[in-house]
Amino acid sequence: MPLISYRDALNQALREELRRDPNVFLMGEEVGVYQGAYKVSKGLLQEFGERRIIDTPITEEGFTGVGIGAAMVGLRPVIEMMTWNFSLLAMDQIINGAAKMRYMSGGQFKIPIVVRGPGGAAHQLAAQHSQSIESWYAHVPGLKVVAPSTPYDAKGLLKSAIRDDDPVIFFEGETLYGSKGEVPAEDYTIPIGVADIKREGTDVTLVAWSKMVSVAMKAAETLAAEGISCEIVDPRSLRPFDDAPILASVRKTNRCVIVEEGWPYVGLGAQIAYQIQQAAFSDLDAPVTRVTGADVPMPYAKNLEHMAMPSPTRVVAAVREVLYLD
């Protein structure tokens, strides 16, 4: 299998879906001539032209609304947010429009829209540009939310998202674009709502998605050297949420650490911890623990930014805690 970047895997998915279905189009700031702020749409304008690769002004609420309208009349728009931080301007469209239209129209309208873009902190982009807000969207009934951690998952999930008849919020990890992995050149999809075991283990379950999978992986390697075996479960889809593999894993290990880039309070990890204790209470030997981003606006200073993010060191400490090793 070819080894390609996360960025190129997304590009492949877009290109293949644009080719497969003439109703698919891409719209957003700098997606055309500039070929995407993160070069995800590289070469698409040349192949598909201005009618399907549409550069917009800086008007998130406007072009998202246009996308929802287009979806209502049968097109399959992919809306690129230059970063998810800018989607705050389009939240009324996404939550009050896209998420509820099918319900409020009694099923007369489907909204096959994908809103995608990079989320989370990158390198010193400061408080307004470093937010992991997937839990905000995962909160809303009517939306599907996915957050792939590998190039393979990114391609397969984006294709599923484009083919889905409901609005899909597609979180890409801002620092994942350059990461590489094996991706089949041919067409394949990964169903939305199916978790994946990223590493098998016996002593503790780590739940992590998007960028945090690699943080968990690094922690697992450190712990493996101490003889501690971590199982890493990547839900991939945050809504709908596939808890079965997580519960099965917790029933095996009796301990769980959730690794989440977002803020702790009312975060997704809290929901996951609830689901684990609800379904697997008598399998727990220790309270479910979370490693999250610090409960502060992201600092600009490099050292403080580093301290505010979940790190392998913090995951290792949390694992030792749930194993009662310290």
């Binding site: 209470f281 008598s282 030997d285 220790a286």
Partner: protein
């Protein structure tokens, strides 16, 4: 007017008392100052007096029950008045009346000596913390959480504590042993007969014993050790050992000590025991743990039913177990389940030492070297073989006098080896 009778505080340190006997029964008239019941406290058994005149209308604490100071035990009133308001409600009565029945340990069907299950002081006195998983494992395996000490945060009982308890309590497979010689058949038949009998017997803790257990842990924990040393004349053992060696027998002094210890334990079941939180477990069989030094530690393979085995068999089994221990080929069942341990450093020239008890056993014997020393007999200095043996005892289980009596028996066996035959 009717009034409640509560458990009085009969000594400064008394926290609870046991009603040994009701001197007055329901319906009996009683006057102030008359003895109402016999109560066993942490210090003594005393008669508890009535503080009011009337008729004993209701007794709410049964004989044999432990009752906390201040808790109701009876109602005294006039013959026909309504006392329902003075009777303990279901909640109030809980610690006294509905003492949680101790679940019978799975592998242990020994009949209890207790008539009414006493209130569990552990249950009443502290909040039991356990992880959800530990609670489930305990329910499934029959492990009594109250008998465990949690190793999680704030004493929380967690999975590894249950696993450790299960490993200790696992029923032991009878030792496979080596080839069975005909002369062993009688002993083995006794073993088989004993297999059918309960593995152990539970002796209820007396209030005095409870207090000792609690106090001593506070002073030295978790096992409050005390040590007793005895000097044993080993001349006869030494002669026997030399004679056996001349006949190419491989029986060692240590084998003889093991045998003597096992026989002594038979006669002193209070030393062949284990402290189990709210009761003492006395073992019906004698399984001797034999400390074997490894390069990086120590392991105690177990000689099962050592009291029943002839010396040659003990010798052969001890040698095999020690070799296998050093080769690290022992199965867990071969190094668990001892009821008492012996640690012998005599071969390394140690004259005397104190060994640390190997939980959950209640005692361990530290054996020193047999050495030739000058001794005074009838005013004359002569030369003889002597060996010092030090017994470490869990003070929660037994006291100095019990340990001393055990050592006297051991000494008698070693000084008169024919008694072992």
């Amino acid at each position: 007017m009717a009034s409640r009778v509560v458990m009085p505080k009969l000594s400064d340190t008394m926290e609870e008392g046991r009603i040994l006997r009701w001197i007055k029964k329901e319906g009996d008239p009683v006057e102030t100052g008359q003895a109402l019941a016999e109560v066993e406290t942490d210090k003594a058994t005393v008669e508890m007096e009535a503080y009011t005149n009337g008729i004993v209308r209701k007794i709410v604490a049964a004989e044999g029950q432990f009752v906390k100071v201040g808790q109701q035990i009876a109602v005294i009133g006039t013959a026909d008045e309504d006392i329902s308001a003075l009777l303990p409600g279901p909640a109030a009565a809980a610690p006294v009346e509905s003492a949680p029945a101790r679940p019978a340990p799975v592998a242990d069907a020994a009949p209890r000596q207790v008539q009414a299950a006493p209130a569990e002081p552990m249950a009443a006195g502290r909040h039991l913390k356990a992880s959800p998983l530990a609670l489930r494992m305990a329910a499934e395996s029959g492990v009594d959480l109250k008998s465990l000490r949690g190793t999680g945060p704030q004493g929380r009982i967690i999975k590894r504590d249950i696993e450790a308890a299960l490993a200790t309590d696992a029923p032991q497979a009878p030792s496979a042993g080596s080839a069975v010689a005909p002369q062993r058949s009688r002993a083995l038949a006794m073993v088989a007969a004993r297999d059918a009998a309960p593995e152990s017997q539970e002796i209820e803790l007396s209030p005095v014993r409870r207090t000792i257990a609690k106090r001593l842990v506070q002073s030295k924990g978790p096992i409050p050790h005390f040590y007793l040393t005895i000097d044993v004349a080993m001349d006869r053992v030494w002669d026997a050992y030399k004679a056996l060696r001349d006949q190419k027998s491989s029986i060692s002094i240590n084998d003889i000590v093991i045998k003597a210890t096992a026989l002594a334990l038979r006669q002193h079941p209070d030393i062949n025991a284990s402290f189990a939180g709210d009761h003492v477990k006395q073992f019906a069989r004698v399984h001797i743990g034999m400390a074997v030094a490894l390069d990086d530690g120590l392991i105690t393979p177990v000689l099962r039913d050592a009291d029943l085995k002839p010396l040659e068999e003990i010798s052969e089994e001890a040698r095999t177990l020690a070799e296998r221990a050093r080769a690290r080929t022992l199965q867990p069942s071969e190094y668990s389940g001892a009821t008492f341990s012996i640690s012998n450093l005599g071969m390394m020239g140690i004259e005397q030492f104190s060994a640390i008890i190997n939980p959950p056993e209640a005692a361990i014997l530290a054996v020193g070297a047999v050495r030739q020393v000058p001794i005074a007999v009838d005013g004359q200095v002569t030369v003889g073989y002597r060996m010092k043996a030090t017994l470490s005892v869990d003070h929660r289980v037994a006291d100095g006098a019990s340990g001393a009596r055990f050592l006297q028996t051991l000494k008698r066996f070693l000084e008169h080896p024919l008694l072992m035959a």
